[in-house]
Symmetry: C2
Amino acid sequence: MGRTPPHPEASQFDLQRILEALVDPVRRSIITQLDASDEDIKCGAFDIQVSKSTATHHFKVLREAGLIRQHYVGTSRMNTLRRAEVDEVFPGLLDALTTHRAKER
Amino acid sequence: MGRTPPHPEASQFDLQRILEALVDPVRRSIITQLDASDEDIKCGAFDIQVSKSTATHHFKVLREAGLIRQHYVGTSRMNTLRRAEVDEVFPGLLDALTTHRAKER
DNA sequence: ATCGAAGTTTGACAGCGATCGTACTTATGC
DNA sequence: GCATAAGTACGATCGCTGTCAAACTTCGAT
């Protein structure tokens, strides 16, 4: 294992894929938590109520859609929001979801 | 039949509902076609490759999410995009989907 | 009054995806 | 080396949703 998993380039971002990733509340919560943090967050440190195997699945979906970047630090996998790249391809999309009004709804 | 179906008010818009509506390609196509048109479009006039009953289902999902408004004109049901209202509650969301770059992806 | 056009409703079906437990892998620390 | 911690991989379920056909409703036109 251990190696860096595959990430799509920004030029390959697909709207359908990204929306499918964002429609799940757990995944959207992950995005929101990343957006609110100044630092990378390791998989186990998120506030989500699902099992580890389910969490792995969600991170994979987010990564393959291009929304997050993952790299290993020891046995932990760190997650970064690919804000700038997503914003460039789909301007306004993440803002619409991370706005206060959006989070309350 | 004939009467105007129920529509949620803008104050009741729910992000989860709206994303679930927008994640389907057929429904997103309906939104895109409405956005590109200056006038209301009747259900039968959309360029979508699904049966009538499936189309009815999609319009219902869009309407109940608050994305479109529907009213009868004769036997036809006219559809309007609730642009301003959606923009006010979730600014940038529809723009992100109706942009040229988004449509090409 | 009849017919056709436009949608709706209902029921059925198929496929996908979120979920979990279990077993496995990899790295760190003692 | 061994135990533990952090994730991953693999099946198996199970519910949801997109799809359609068929029967029905409503309105408009003839």
